[in-house]
Amino acid sequence: MKVLVTVKEVAAVEDDFEISGTEIGSTYLDYDLNEWDDYAVEEGVQLAEAGDDVEVVAVTIGPERSEETIRMALAKGADRAVRVWDDAIEDVELLDVETKAQLLGAVVEEEDPDLVLSGVQANDDSFGATGVALAEELGFQWAAVVNDLDTETVLDEGVASVRRELEGGVEELTDVQLPAVLTIQTGINEPRYASLRGIRQAQSKEIAPKSLDDLGLDAGVVESSLDVTAMYEPETESDAEYIEGDAGEQAGQLADVLRDKGVVGE
């Protein structure tokens, strides 16, 4: 069995940052493996540990810098990785979902996995859509927002028995035929920390670069239909009363507020 995990290096902005034009300068950004993808990698690695002969391949669309993040997925147990990048991609400010699905789709077609695991959403541009679009692009089945996957049936019967986490503490129990894409929700497992041994081993694992040419795609694929015309800090809707002072003073005033509201006694 082959499991492909899509992983994205995401950027988080620091507490203090500046916007220039429609971008945030990289000095204000911290890069990391997308939280949801960390859970997806773990789910893939757990399948590999439970089954015989399960290969886990991590795939990303990202610049060279993202190799550091991909190495984390390898250190946690993915067998090898594919990194899609191209000058033509570099020029695009915000890749739309369709483009990402086509790029990842080309890799899936080459790799021919039984199962693709992606995250529910990428924490930076938060489309929450790439996994399902990818499934449709490929003619795979899918399930979105999965917080439980039955290991045995997926390994032995070619069916993903999943729970989809709906709103308000309700879960939907669904069976999905393979091949399928599942978008993985946080909390589905406990992502491991990379061990020192894992980190060492990851150094010698393959990260195969793929250009559009390698994937048999032409530059037209990456023409994004999204044009970011403005980026700004949201106007604060806050009418909060700020409690100033050092921690002791703040605590004192907060205590008064709580007493005043009648939720804590003297």
Partner: protein
């Protein structure tokens, strides 16, 4: 050219966001000078269609097929409707079920997909306002080519009200059952247990700012000293540090206490969905730009590891050393 808004329902009831969708759809239809069509797929379509007939809706389409949401059925139904109505804009809620079918509709019908809109405008092209980087920034995105599928964030538009004079009709879709590759076997309620945080009048709620499981002791001491009930944001439950029944938010509990004290919680939209109804919201956070302050009544910009011990002492307790 029309606007098609596809309602969300679950277990016998339309979800609130369906009516917000009608408001967003009406605005867009006005901007584009066209009609607003609403659609409901599966379930008690007759009563749902009646309910969707609110002011501003021109036409309601009911697609009868089974009871509950199935994404394969939805994709086929919405594809057929969008084509039949020549819908330039398909609007859906950015709900968990929206996430499960809207991107597929876009891919299948060759439409551009934009998710989680908080505002929409239409001049010559569609302009979508959406957030990035965990709500730290807003962006305006011009979307070049129609037709479009757009998902909208809940609680951003007011619900459509009143009774409209829409034409209500059924729309038949020949669902290709062979193409239905997923089966919904049932539902389960999770997060029960001994405590119901929805009953509490004072919640002390902790988020990822606590950093380590061991540090939770500090917040437990605060809850104990003040007689508050302990709740949390999602990552704390994901990490297994607190049970699911303590989680506030979209996929956890909705709470409406007198006081909600959010400590080390950024205020992500899915969290806020669960606690914005609290009477008084107080936030303690090191980041003065954290979105939680948008809905807070009182803000303390500071380090929880300094403020919380001091607060425990204010009430005569002894802070544990963490």
């Amino acid at each position: 050219m029309t606007v098609l808004a596809v309602a969300d329902h679950r277990r016998g009831a339309l979800r609130d966001v369906s009516f917000e969708l009608l408001t967003a759809g009406r605005e867009l239809a006005d901007a584009a000078g066209t009609d607003l069509h609403a659609a409901v797929v599966s379930g008690d379509t007759e009563s749902f269609a009646d309910d969707l007939n609110r002011e501003g809706v021109d036409h309601v389409h009911a697609v009868e097929h089974g009871e509950e949401f199935n994404h394969d059925v939805y994709v086929q139904a919405v594809e057929a409707l969008a084509e039949d109505l020549d819908a330039e804009f398909v609007l859906v809620p950015n709900s968990v079920n929206g996430l499960d079918y809207a991107p597929a509709v876009a891919t299948r019908t060759g439409r551009t997909y934009v998710s989680d809109a908080i505002d929409l405008a239409h001049n010559d092209t569609l302009e979508v306002t959406r957030e990035m980087y965990g709500s730290k920034v807003e962006t305006t995105v011009e979307v070049a080519d129609g037709p479009y599928v757009v998902s909208i964030r809940g609680a951003e538009w007011p619900a459509a009200e009143g009774v409209g004079d829409a034409e209500v009709s059924t729309f038949d879709v020949d669902v290709d059952e062979d193409a239905v590759g997923s089966t919904v076997n049932g539902f389960e309620e999770v997060g029960g247990g001994d405590v119901d945080i929805a009953d509490a009048n004072f919640l002390v709620s902790i988020g990822r700012g606590i950093e380590e499981e061991e540090n939770l002791e500090l917040i437990e001491a605060l809850a104990e000293t003040t007689g508050a009930t302990l709740s949390s944001s999602r990552p704390i439950v994901d990490n297994g540090w607190l049970p699911k029944n303590r989680q506030v938010g979209q996929s956890g509990k909705q709470v409406t206490p007198d006081v909600y004290l959010a400590i080390g919680i950024s205020g992500a939209v899915q969290h806020v969905a669960g606690m914005k109804g609290a009477d008084t919201i107080i936030a303690i956070n090191t980041d003065p730009n954290a979105p939680i302050y948008d809905i807070a009544d009182y803000g303390i910009v500071g380090d929880l590891f300094d403020v919380v011990p001091a607060l425990i002492e204010e009430f005569g307790g002894e802070p544990p050393s963490v």
